[in-house]
């Protein structure tokens, strides 16, 4: 723990020194600057016009042979007038853009989703974006579990509010409304959360600083969870139970691109809270910056490589390492650190409408023998867990209708994971904990994603879930058909 705190302070100190050598990006033209230019040009025009009015007289008296002069002056005036017109239009555009952007660019930047990246593309000031996803789930086979009830859910309605203070400091926020309400009593089903609220300090292409409530940079989904960026209505289970999502913690760190195509992110963050661990994994150990326990910190880092030679290929790996005891896990009056390790590797390849994705993750948790008795009905938890999935999709629209710019991609995904891949054989009691309850699954999923425009997706999919353990209460386990719509803006 002390080591991690040391790491954090080193990181911050290093970043502050880097900030002295700020590399300012090219400044965009603001409205004020433009007005100044217009005024200058207006003066030039007036001067030229005056000039043009007086020139013929002087020419007649001084030099009869220099006839082209008036034409040059008139051309200059015209040129300047045109410039002024263009500038005036630009100013007008800028004004309008304050309320309605003319054309937003949806391009994923610095690890964030396309809509979440909008603020980085703005020139200055406020940027508004968001996404939403709604779905209908029909349990084709409830498997006798009364929890498997058909639902229609506005699962997420999300607002991105970004603010670009200047050309090197950007604030980005995601505010999420889950399940449409946070009402009292029977309406108490949803929640409003700040999914992230981070300040980015752009110093150098290679070294930039990020601080605040940040997304843990693991897997495909956690950072980039906008519905247009993945197939299927539900996120892959592995990126919910093995790598939690949406997983965010308080912290600070560095990000950048060290070589062309080689991006990294590394943060020091609040660790997980082991009291929330359960037989479905570490997911409820997330602290989310809500009065987070900060006795234990963690390190998280990610490396992604997109070789410039092979367009569409991306591969990378990430990790999260830290104690999760938070000074709260005790047994027989002795405290335990619950050192938690999570590793993940991923690869994605996109080629002419073909999309391939694969991801694998593995975790190891120390001291579970002493943590398990604290978990009651939600335990015991796995000392190790693992999961992987492979996914293939192909945009078949060009085959069906060549001229169309719509997107229509059938996909197939195979998932395998086990939250109790290994369970403690406690030296304390000399027998293993009961590993019958947990998520030990194969999931076969097939479906289709249709995008009339890149910002909107309509999804339909079928998930066949094969459980090999008793499913913990509250986790749906029926075979389901999902139909939904998602959008980003």
């Amino acid at each position: 723990m002390a080591h991690q705190k040391h790491l954090l302070s080193l990181t911050i100190a290093g970043l502050l020194s880097i900030s002295l050598s700020v590399f300012a990006l090219e400044k965009p033209k603001t409205m004020n600057e433009m007005w100044k230019i217009i005024e200058m040009q207006q003066k030039q025009i007036e001067a030229l016009q005056k000039n043009a009015a007086t020139t013929p007289v002087s020419q007649q008296t001084t030099d009869n042979t220099s006839k082209p002069a008036p034409t040059v002056a008139t051309n200059d005036v015209k040129k300047l007038e045109r410039k002024t017109d263009v500038l005036s239009q630009e100013v007008e555009k800028l004004r309008t853009n304050l309320s309605i952007p003319e054309e937003a660019k949806y391009k994923s930047m610095y690890g964030m989703g396309p809509a979440a990246s909008k603020v980085y593309g703005t020139s200055k000031g406020l940027s508004i974006g968001g996404y939403g996803e709604a779905m209908y789930t029909n349990y084709v086979d409830t498997k006798g579990n009364q929890n498997n009830k058909d639902t229609a859910d506005l699962e997420r309605a999300v607002i991105y509010l970004g603010y670009k203070f200047n050309d090197w400091i950007v604030l980005n926020n995601e505010i999420e409304f889950e399940h449409a309400t946070t009402g009292e009593g029977s309406e108490e089903k949803g929640e409003v959360s700040v999914e992230f609220s981070q300040l980015d300090f752009f110093l150098d292409q290679k070294y930039n600083v990020r601080a605040g409530l940040m997304l843990v940079p693991m897997g495909f989904i956690n950072e980039m969870h906008e519905p247009t960026t993945y197939h299927g209505n539900h996120r892959p289970d592995i990126e919910r139970y093995i790598i939690p999502s949406t997983w965010r913690e308080m912290g600070a760190g560095l990000f950048g691109e060290v070589l062309p195509g080689l991006q990294y992110r590394m943060y020091a963050m609040t660790g997980l809270n082991a009291q929330g661990f359960s037989n479905v994994g570490i997911m409820e150990g997330r602290q989310g910056g809500s009065n987070a326990k900060a006795d234990d910190f963690a390190f998280t880092g990610r490396l992604d490589y997109s070789p410039t030679q092979i367009s569409g290929l991306l591969f990378g790996a990430s990790t999260f390492l830290g104690n999760s005891g938070q000074n709260d896990v005790a047994f027989n009056n002795q405290k335990y650190n619950v050192f938690t390790q999570l590793y993940e590797g991923h690869i994605q390849y996109k080629y002419r409408g073909l999309e391939l994705r694969a991801l694998g993750a593995w975790s190891h948790i120390d001291d579970t023998a002493f943590l398990n008795p604290n978990l009651g009905a939600t335990g015991p938890l796995g000392k190790e867990s693992f999961g992987w999935y492979v996914e293939a999709a192909h945009d078949i629209m060009p085959l069906l209708w060549k001229e169309s710019d719509h997107y229509l991609a059938p996909f197939f995904r195979l998932e395998r994971y086990n939250t109790l891949a290994a369970i403690d054989n406690s030296s304390l009691v000399g027998s293993t904990f009961d590993a019958r309850v947990g998520l030990d699954r194969w999931i076969y999923q097939a479906g289709i994603s249709y995008k009339p425009i890149p910002n909107i997706v309509i999804k339909a999919d079928y998930r066949n879930i094969n459980d090999r353990k008793i499913v913990p209460m509250g986790i749906p386990n029926g075979d389901e058909f999902n139909f939904g719509v998602g959008f980003i803006y």
Binding site: F331, P373, G376, R436
Partner: protein
Amino acid sequence: MNIERPFAALGVVIYFISFSALGAEVLTPKAELGRQLFFDKNLSEPAGQACSSCHDPLAAFTDNDKTQPTSKGVDTSLHGNRNAPTVMYAAFSPTFTFDRQANLYKGGQFWDGRAKTLSNQAKGPFLNPIEMANPTPEAVIEKIKQSPMTDYSTQFDAIYGKEALEHPAKAYLYVADAIAEFERSAVFNKFTSKYDFYLLGKARFTDQEKRGLLVFESKDKGNCIACHNSRPTSNTPPLFTDFSYDNIGVPKNPDNAFYLLPPPFNPSGMAFVDLGLGGQLKLPDQNGKFKVPTLRNIALTSPYTHNGYFETLRGVVTFYSTRNVIKRCTNAFTDEKTALQQLCWSMPEVPENVNFNELGNLKLNRQDVNDLIAFLTTLTDGYGATSPWSSLTTPPSQ
């Protein structure tokens, strides 16, 4: 229940016999003195009733006479107004206090917290006119001095100093102190239930017991965990109580013989209302609240609740689940059995301050109830001989 009971009783007998063989060696001299006082029937007026009469080890230190909801006094025509609670794990109850942060009263002893500590509690029943009926502490000390069976004086002198019994006021404190010491011993704080072994990976739950634990803890099912903590803390195994006070809306118990007692004991007759903590503190906003009991050994400690209204675990679980949902019985004095037959519940004995937030409509189905009962029966001590929790089982000294 009726089939299970002889087996459960047999298990307890065997366990108690094995304890008797070993226990005397395990106890400290003070706890051993407390043990002798606890079981001594010569210390009542007249002789015939001991602490153990109503706190019988055969019933996890509750009254083993299950024919009545409340206990008989030394004068067997008299009955107390409340169901004798278990002494087991009582030593873990903190000193009675008002928890400002939680805005709740917590801890203490008796159903209404009127004794702040364990030793204060031990002073009560000797002098209670319905229970051991001694007129004064001096009378108790005199009986101890004159005991025909036990040489108490030597033990008191050895533990509390010479002539320890010569100052009755002080000696009475020693009596309570010794009994409290006994109650802090492993005899009352076994932590040997199947659940203890299960938590530590030493026992396997059946699927039904596992489901029952889920119902117990699940927020949208039983949520029993809200008051009956089923998780260990850093220095205690789960105690299945948070030592707070609550009015769960228990109806009047028509079988409570206290209603029929004459005026010196019960001036209100059938109109008697037990105000619990509120009566004790003279605070109307605490009326009807009683201490949350531990659920350890719950299968052995029937009847349940302060007035012993519920004879069965199924009855009390069903009440928690359906109190707000099914109709009100027309007769305020309807017993549990009739209420279950008529699918109704009588109005609460104290209608104010009833907890509607955490119970009354748990929506438990038949399987949930069965599962929950299966889990609750895993809380009976004696699954293993020694506790798997090692050093955590010693209660704090007060």
